[in-house]
């Protein structure tokens, strides 16, 4: 694997060919915000938070799916990018009903952390206030669609790590919602193996363990990467 050199934010970085810009940045200790990225499953480039500026291209490129090239000049934290990230987060907050103060993931939420980091102290877009349900039919887990950002991490985890294919996206556009089997209550699902990987994968309080209360929803996502590395590379990382 040839090693390529590029610069990220002015810093020279070297990584093997085939690495994504995100991976190269992470290895070099440069943080790029992400939401739909999850270690252990493939990237979809959907949240658009990891967009970076690349010299010579007038398009912004998603760091999670763009492969590095020799001599690439990447900028991850310009004013323009910060502006777009802030707007993306505001659009998310306005899209559904995200109320941190009563949420089980308060303090342990990736969306909240990113909004804090971006300095989002208000949302300039009108809240859409869709009427969405909470599915408490499963004995162990709960799903609150009001907090879902459609990152599809739960779907990818269920299909590609567990393999059950229980969760998927239905509908189109703003009507998209995460469904279980044939749009059945989770508790009636025939394919769900109760493994809980989807709950582990969720960045917000949309999927949670039953019995936790506000602020108690803590996850250990490294388990997912652990399973994938064990299965594919036969290496058990501690």
């Amino acid at each position: 694997m040839a090693a390529l050199t590029l610069t990220i934010d002015g810093k020279p970085v070297s990584a093997p060919a085939g690495t994504t810009v995100l991976e190269a940045a992470q290895d070099a200790g440069i943080r790029i915000p992400t939401l739909c990225h999850l270690e252990g499953v493939y990237d979809v480039g959907a949240c658009r938070l990891c967009l970076v500026e690349v010299a010579g291209s007038n398009k912004l490129l998603p760091a999670c799916t763009t492969q590095i090239a020799e001599g690439m000049e990447v900028w991850t934290d310009t004013d323009r990018l910060r502006k777009y990230r802030r707007m993306t987060l505001e659009l998310l907050f306005a899209e559904r009903n995200h109320v941190c103060s009563v949420c089980v993931s308060n303090g342990n939420c990736e969306l909240q952390a990113l909004a804090w980091e971006a300095g989002m102290d208000h949302v300039r877009y009108p809240y859409q206030h869709p009427q969405l349900e909470v599915d408490q039919t499963h004995p162990l887990f709960g799903m609150d669609h009001n907090r879902c950002i459609l990152c599809t991490r739960c779907v990818r985890v269920c299909w590609h790590i567990e393999g059950a294919g229980t969760k998927n996206v239905a509908g189109r556009g703003a009507d998209c919602r995460i469904i279980t089997d044939l749009n059945q209550p989770w508790g009636e699902s025939d394919s769900c193996t109760n493994c809980g990987k989807c709950v582990m994968a969720c960045p917000t309080g949309a999927l949670y363990y039953k019995g936790v209360t506000t602020g108690e929803m803590v996850r250990d996502r490294r388990k997912l990467e652990f399973i994938v590395t064990a299965r594919e590379q036969k290496q058990w990382i501690a």
Binding site: A46, A94, V169, A174, C176
Partner: protein, 542 residues
């Protein structure tokens, strides 16, 4: 099937031609006005008058002037009759007898017809789309034969490159370059896909080509397959085009039966099969990667590019995706030569473009003009201007991804670059004329509603952004918006344009940006003042 057999079919077909031909348009427009009944009545009248060996009643494709359908063209006198009804149709036989039928004639000397230059539509309205023999009689499949027997694949690609043909689906990417990339990509299996998911509201060029001359598309695809090394082709056609689907199925079956599709085409090593895939009502599936996801039986959500389909497409294999009109140009390019094609059009945009002229214009229908024709020629000369002598306000090109060109700028020569400079795009060819009664903010909102409903929902800027932009446009239309709202709208347009994952989101703001550029006053006059605006405090003097 070899060349002799092909030529024999052509000869037989030409020999069976009768002294008089009544060509009845049976494309969807005229069909909805009852042209199938017209055809039936004509056939009956011919039989009853004992003129069966003198007169052929042929079902053909689009005769261009859709607003005056049903249309019937009479050969060899070269007269086009319009608004022919089933009852009045038999009167056409008067013409055969040398008389003058009491029917409306279209003026074939009108610029609408004389300014057209048919390459893609050369067979439309001439051949019977439901008979392959009719296509062969017009030198159909000759280009495919010559390509596979006399040319190397790279020579075919060179010809397409030299012609300067660019993708007619809207992006205008050099076709030869795309073919070359697929040809060079490694892999045992490659695919050729025809994008017939013409989703732009207001566009019906591809539909007309598929209904009027389906074989030209098949021939183009087969030539492409030979050039890039593919053996399987797909035509992805939207479900809303049942007649096109039916005619394509017939065409594929007929071509297969004659051995023009299948194994060892014309005795060469080329094997090529074409399968039809029907869409199911998703505009986003006109986007390359979404289209491929749909062919793979999944939700039609796009994915980031790179990798491009030419390197990794259907099932990870190199895939060539081109638009219907692009493929339909290929046989003509090979038959007449790349230099011939390159001599038509402008420096960077070669050949012709098919436009669907519609909206507030007298002559609505299908036109094919050389690139470089001005919008004014198209709309005022050919289109005849707005009905009732109303003043034309703007011309919308490129559908929901495009923009409006105001009437003052209608002298622009239509080609890819010039339209982009004006903030619009060529798009697939939809051209809607708008007059003084059209409200431009309403138009912008109409297109935004479309994008909002068709958004796949994968990426946040498009999914949530189109909802917010639609809300802001509604607020403006209803007179509830302030200048701050307008600024928010413009800011959002910029963000959605630059951060969306695919072309749908990236171009969704275009109608807004375009109307803001040329018709800003229509937005501004609707704004109400900001509340609680701190008034300037006058210093106390003296």
């Amino acid at each position: 099937m070899d060349l002799n057999q092909l030529l024999a079919i052509k000869e037989r077909e030409l020999a069976s031609r009768k002294p008089y031909t009544l060509r009845v348009c049976t494309a969807a427009g005229c069909l909805s006005a009852g042209s199938d009944q017209v055809k039936k009545q004509l056939e009956r009248a011919v039989a009853e008058a004992g003129l069966s060996d003198q007169v052929e009643v042929r079902c053909v494709g689009c005769l261009r002037l859709c607003c005056q359908g049903p249309l019937v063209h009479v050969d060899p006198v070269n007269e086009l009759y319009q608004k022919v009804g089933p009852e009045t149709a038999p009167a056409l036989l008067e013409r055969v007898r040398g008389g003058a039928p009491p029917l409306e004639k279209a003026d074939l000397q009108h610029p609408f017809f004389t300014r057209q230059f048919s390459i893609v539509l050369a067979n439309s309205g001439v051949v019977d789309p439901e008979r392959i023999e009719s296509y062969i009689a017009a030198d159909g499949y000759r280009a495919l034969h010559d390509a596979v027997i006399e040319m190397e694949p790279r020579e075919v690609i060179q010809a397409v490159m030299a012609s300067g043909l660019r993708g007619r689906g809207g992006a205008g990417f050099p076709t030869g370059l795309k073919w070359s990339t697929v040809a060079k990509s490694g892999g045992a299996r490659k695919y050729v896909v025809c994008n017939a998911d013409e989703g732009d509201p207001g566009a019906f060029m591809d539909r007309s080509v598929l209904e009027s001359d389906p074989h030209s598309v098949l021939e183009g695809m087969a030539i492409a397959a030979y050039a890039v090394g593919a053996e399987q082709g797909f035509i992805y056609v939207r479900a809303e085009y049942p007649l096109a689907i039916r005619r394509l199925r017939m065409a594929i079956e007929q071509a297969r039966r004659l051995g023009i599709l299948g194994s060892g085409i014309f005795g060469s090593p080329l094997n090529f099969n074409v399968e039809l895939r029907i869409g199911a009502g998703a505009f986003v599936c006109g986007e390359e990667t979404a289209l491929m996801a749909s062919i793979e039986g999944r939700r039609g959500t796009p994915r980031p590019r790179p990798p491009f389909p030419a390197e990794s497409g259907l099932w990870g294999c190199p895939t060539l995706i081109n638009n219907v009109e692009t493929f339909a140009n290929v046989p003509a390019i090979l038959r007449n030569g790349a230099e011939w094609f390159a001599s038509i059009g402008t420096e960077k945009s070669k050949g012709t473009k098919v436009f669907a002229l519609a909206g507030r214009v007298k002559n609505t229908g299908l036109i094919e003009v050389p690139m470089g024709t001005t919008l004014r020629t198209i709309v005022e000369e050919m289109g005849g201007g707005a009905p009732g002598g109303a003043r034309i306000k703007a011309v919308q090109t490129g559908g929901p991804s495009g923009g409006c060109v105001p009437a003052e700028l209608m002298d622009v020569e239509v080609d890819y670059e010039s339209l982009t400079r004006l903030g619009s795009i060529m798009g697939s060819g939809g051209m809607i004329v708008m007059d003084e009664t059209t409200d431009m903010v309403d138009v912008a909102r109409f297109f935004m509603e479309f994008c909002k409903d068709e958004s796949c929902g994968k990426c946040i800027p498009c999914r949530a952004g189109t909802v917010q932009m639609y809300g802001l446009l509604t607020k403006i239309l209803e007179g509830r918006a302030t200048a701050r709202d307008l600024a928010t709208l413009e800011e959002l347009c910029d963000m959605v344009k630059h951060t969306s994952l695919c072309g749908l989101g990236q171009t969704a703001p275009n109608p807004v940006l375009s109307t803001l550029r040329f018709f800003r006053h229509e937005y501004e006059r609707r704004l109400r003042p900001e509340r609680h605006v701190a008034s300037a405090v006058q210093p106390v003097t003296g």
